[in-house]
Subunit: 96 residues, 2 copies
């Protein structure tokens, strides 16, 4: 994964968060209270300047009432499966 791909990944995720928040008429301060994430931190995430943790993204998705996958949706076919989806037929359930 290239450095630029990671940059646009963060920028895209941030843009989606901002669109969702603005679409619901929320300010950064309001979303901060809903998520427990400070407004400055949210600003950095929305502008793609911070690499958030998974649970941080989940708290944002939760507050915005959208599925987490929506915030990180890369093109759902980023890697075109040649003939079979690579997620087919994994059944190693008890790895504990």
């Amino acid at each position: 994964m290239s450095d630029n791909a990671e940059k646009t990944l963060l920028e895209d995720a941030g843009r989606r968060i901002r669109e969702m928040r603005a679409g619901q008429g929320l300010s950064l301060e309001q979303l901060a209270r809903l998520t427990g994430i400070s407004a400055p931190a949210l600003s950095l995430i929305e502008t793609g300047k911070r690499d958030p943790r998974l649970t941080t993204l989940a708290r944002i998705a939760d507050a915005l009432r959208v599925p987490l996958a929506v915030l990180i949706a890369d093109e759902v076919n980023a890697t075109p499966p040649s003939s079979e989806p690579p997620s087919e037929g994994y059944d190693l359930g008890d790895y504990q």
Copy 2:
């Protein structure tokens, strides 16, 4: 978002990563070389003991050649009610 919800979120994501990796016959060491993430770090992520950053998850998804959204467990990726066998494509529902 409750503390336990975050715990199961990390555990579910880790379980999916492990399923994908095992389904492709990769060892932690091999995935470590593919992702640039150390094997101990991958082990912690797969066992739900570490809260990975977004770009870390993206590098794993990239190496496993699956969309990033697949690694995230929420209602969108949950098994659809019926009408279609699961694990046939990466359905994102109404959200593109």
